[in-house]
């Protein structure tokens, strides 16, 4: 059982990394044996992506030791990692868009013959190598990226959510090819949000939680439960909800929803999302990273256009072309990234009053007295510590987030979209924001809350929808929305998940059918010009 360090293909021990005050990795370790397919697992924010960046040499760790086949990484550059035999494939293909495929191969010194061989294996034998990468459909480009990596015959292949956005048939092919790597010369680190893929092709799994490696599990039919448990950790005692939980369904059947979304889709990520939010309600949105929630919120906030579906506010169909349209319709947006919303060099007062004074058609002088009164009311209401209020950037993250909320509350909130509003905020401010969201809902606002912290759902929401692969896969009442249930739903697992071997491939196909409906040829953003899709263009 015990292998010496030099027998391991990859041996990373006690790797840590902090970005300023935020600790992304505390003590991550990963040991990959020759010929195995090793899964790296972790919930959102567990430090997985930082770990991957360090392993591939894109980011330098603060401490820790990484050795590939016994040789330690010193320079921490992609070139060095590649030289030691570690090649990575990401969800977004690392193909230079303006070069043709052949030039892209030349850039990475990839032997064309072997590339062709793997392209064949992966079901793309017809690809013309002189096509400019930009013109190749995105799904095919992902396959090109993988074939290129395989053609180098790496000692260690790292697949970072490579299958997340692949159509079902291609996913099957990829899993098949990767599965056949087991027991060969090279090893594979496989990262995926789909438990079913892990079960199908992985030998072992390393689980990260809060920047620490919390366990290594042999993958068997029954290991899923253990992995979920490790990802969650011990569930802490939750603070009590500020108010009594109102019974969902208490609202009258004929009430019109404040915000009604029907069949909403955009590009290839957001497939088909429908839900209603009623006045006085907080609706939670739960999703793993990259399941379409970003696009959903961007559409509702007016930042991007939808490609299909309908949105109605108070029963009237709307089509926002600009965030100003959304704001006028009473739909306001709170982003996770405060820097996205605030003028960092300006004062709290200016930041709070900005939406009020920057409206279209308001070019006249600002009523400073009225502005001051409004701002101080908002500051008081949110208990913003505005001592350093001359420049917003000097406030703490929590206080900054309160400022982004404060700008909307003075005139009463109609509909509020909150995208992970408590990301990177201390616990006390978090609680204040929870209470505030509840208060706003009590006062009649409709609130849509996406959060990466699952325990917030029971604390703040009335019910929650779960999005997976760009579709709503579950709706859960807050009473039942404990973390294991939500996480299981987020991974699209049935409550009694138990999968016989032969059903695995079938289940993968149905799971990924969401992206699989689309013909491969029209998957790319600029490719597939011969099949214009009328539903893509907004009328």
């Amino acid at each position: 059982m015990t292998l010496t360090a030099t027998d391991l293909v990859l041996d990373a021990t006690d790797v840590s990394k902090a970005y300023g005050a935020v600790v992304a990795l505390r003590s991550a370790s990963l040991a990959v044996r020759p010929g195995e397919v090793h899964a790296l697992m972790g919930a959102n924010g567990a430090g997985k992506s930082t770990f991957v960046k360090i392993l591939t040499g894109a980011v330098r760790p603060d401490a820790g030791r990484i050795a590939v086949r016994g040789r330690e990484l010193a320079a921490h550059s992609p070139g060095e990692a590649r030289g030691l035999g570690l090649v990575s494939v990401y969800q977004e293909p690392s193909v230079v868009p303006d070069l043709d495929i052949r030039s892209n191969l030349r850039l990475t010194d990839t032997p064309v013959e072997r590339f062709r061989h793997w392209l064949d294996e992966l079901g793309h034998p017809q690809l013309d190598l002189s096509t400019i990468a930009r013109d190749v459909p995105l799904a095919s480009l992902r396959i090109v990226d993988l074939a290129r990596a395989l053609a180098i015959e790496p000692k260690l292949l790292l697949l970072d959510e490579m299958t997340a956005a692949l159509p079902a048939d291609l996913t099957e092919r990829v899993l098949d090819v990767i599965g056949r790597q087991r027991g060969g010369d090279g090893s594979v680190i496989f990262i995926s949000h789909r438990m079913i893929e892990i079960a199908a092709i992985c030998d072992r799994a390393t689980v990260l939680r809060e920047g620490v490696t919390v366990g290594v599990v042999d993958v068997t039919e029954r290991s899923e439960e253990r992995i979920v448990q490790l990802m969650l950790g011990d569930i802490e005692a939750l603070p009590e909800r500020a108010d009594g939980h109102r019974a969902a369904g208490a609202r009258a059947a004929d009430t019109r929803p404040r915000l009604a979304v029907k069949g909403l889709g955009a590009g290839t990520v957001l497939e088909d999302v429908s839900f209603d939010v009623y006045a006085g309600e907080v609706l939670g949105v739960v999703a793993l990273e990259g399941q379409g929630q970003d696009e959903l919120f961007d559409i509702l906030a007016g930042s991007i256009r939808r490609s299909r579906g309908e949105v109605a506010v108070d029963g009237a169909a709307v089509s926002f072309r600009h965030p100003a349209d959304a704001i006028r319709a009473g739909v306001v947006y709170i982003a996770a990234d405060r820097a996205e919303a605030l003028l960092m060099q300006r004062s709290v007062r200016e930041n709070v009053s900005l939406p009020g004074i920057a409206g279209v058609g308001r070019w006249g002088p600002i009523n400073l007295g009225r502005e001051r009164r409004q701002v101080s009311r908002a500051v008081e209401m949110l208990q913003i510590d505005a001592r350093a209020g001359a420049e917003v950037r000097r406030l703490s993250g929590g206080n900054q987030q309160k400022v982004t909320i404060a700008r909307w509350v003075t005139d009463g909130v109609h509909t509020m979209l909150c995208f992970d509003p408590t990301r990177g905020i201390d616990i006390r401010t978090k609680t204040q924001i929870y209470v505030l969201l509840r208060d706003l809902a009590e006062a009649g606002a409709a609130i849509l809350l996406y959060t990466s912290e699952l325990k917030e759902i029971q604390l703040v929401c009335d019910r929650a929808i779960v999005i997976f692969g760009g579709r709503v896969v579950a709706e859960i009442d807050a009473n039942d929305a404990d973390e294991p249930t939500l996480l299981r739903a987020a991974y699209n697992l049935r409550a009694d998940a138990e999968l016989p071997e032969q059903a695995v491939a079938e289940a993968i196909a149905s799971e990924t059918a969401s992206v699989g409906d689309e013909p491969v040829a029209s998957g790319g953003p600029s490719g597939g010009g011969d099949a214009p899709d009328p539903t893509r263009v907004e009328p």
Binding site: T56, A58, P78, G79, R82, S88, Y90, P93, S94, V95, V96, P97, D98, L99, S103, N104, R106, L107, T108, H124, Q126, L127, D128, S130, T131, I132, D135, V136, P137, S140, V520, A521, G524, S526, G527, G528, G529, D530, P532
Partner: protein, 334 residues
């Protein structure tokens, strides 16, 4: 559009297909060449005695700018911009003229080589500053344009110096037929002998790669910083060649940078190089320089006030580029 479908193209590339693809990929350049031809016809119409002399003059005045446009193209393709090209040209121009004065022809050749190395060096300094200080390209090169312009004035504070005779001979006269001016042939030779091999090299590939998508290039193992420095070094080299072209043309050194920098940006844009990087080549901008020069000539022939001519040039530039993006938009929609 079968190629766009990715999986359904023929496996046997025939010459006709290759030519077709070459044309499709260089639609913009082909369009520019057609525009040049039309402009020549137009010139001939409004000025029936336009002939070898006119073309000779055109080549002389456009040669330096064409080389500056090549310098700018290389940087822009790599995702940067160089606002110090005019200053580097002035600097190398005065160094060459000042050093060549009173020297023998042989020494003149050595001086010319030295000036080329000087250009390579100052370009490398530009690039290294950008990569190591991480200050934006536009700011570093703007600041360095003052530095190099100042250096030029330190060498010669009034126009002066004297070019070697072999150098001035290069700029005047024609080869084989009086319709082919020497400078035109030389610019084409220089660019063909440097750019075509470069473009096929790993460095050339890397230049396009970092301009197209830095992250993808980085992940593909391209040394992004080193490639960026190389792009500015090449810009310095071509600026030096352009500086020598001015020396050859005027026979002296002039310490003030003309309007070369911004005109080179205009030529690059008109020449079909994406300012965002990664797309285009150097031949489009060279053709664009000819267009800009011809328009200028025609406006003179038409007796238009020279100030108004400048305005017209700007309007034409915007018009052509706008037309191009409209055409590209329509093509991507169908």
């Amino acid at each position: 559009m079968t190629a766009a479908a990715g999986q359904v193209t023929g496996a046997t590339p025939d010459t006709a297909g290759a030519v077709q693809r070459l044309l499709r990929r260089n639609t913009w350049t082909v369009g520019l060449v057609v525009l040049v031809a039309a402009l020549f016809v137009f010139t001939k119409l409004i000025q029936p005695n336009y002939g070898p002399t006119g073309i000779q003059g055109l080549a002389i005045s456009a040669a330096a700018l064409a080389l500056a446009a090549v310098a700018q193209s290389i940087v822009v393709i790599s995702g940067g911009i160089d606002l110090s090209i005019g200053a580097m040209m002035a600097f190398t121009n005065v160094v060459a003229a000042q050093a060549m004065r009173g020297q023998s022809e042989e020494t003149g050749v050595i001086i010319a080589i030295g000036v080329l190395l000087l250009g390579l060096c100052i370009g490398t300094i530009n690039g290294a500053l950008i990569v190591f200080t991480r200050v934006a390209d536009i700011i570093v090169t703007l600041a360095m344009s003052f530095v190099w312009a100042g250096c030029a004035l330190l060498v010669l504070n009034v126009p002066g110096g004297q070019a070697s005779k072999w150098l001035t001979d290069l700029a005047h006269g024609s080869v084989v037929t009086e319709w082919l001016p020497k400078p035109a042939l030389e610019v084409l030779l220089i660019v063909a002998l440097t750019w075509i091999p470069l473009r096929r090299s790993r460095l050339g590939l890397s230049l396009y790669a970092i301009g197209s998508d830095k992250l993808a290039a980085f992940r593909s193992g391209v040394a992004v910083g080193r490639t960026k420095i190389a792009s500015y070094a090449l810009a310095g080299l071509f600026s030096a060649i352009a500086g020598l072209a001015i020396t050859a043309n005027t026979g002296i050194g002039t310490p003030l940078p003309g309007g070369y920098t911004l005109t080179s940006v205009a030529a690059v844009v008109l020449g079909g190089v994406a300012l965002a990087g990664g797309r285009g080549g150097v031949f489009g901008p060279i053709v664009a320089v000819i267009i800009l020069a011809l328009i200028r000539t025609d406006l003179t022939f038409l007796n238009i006030n020279s100030n108004l001519a400048t305005v017209t040039q700007g309007v034409i530039l915007i018009g052509v580029v706008m037309f191009g993006s409209l055409a590209a938009m329509r093509r991507s929609r169908t």
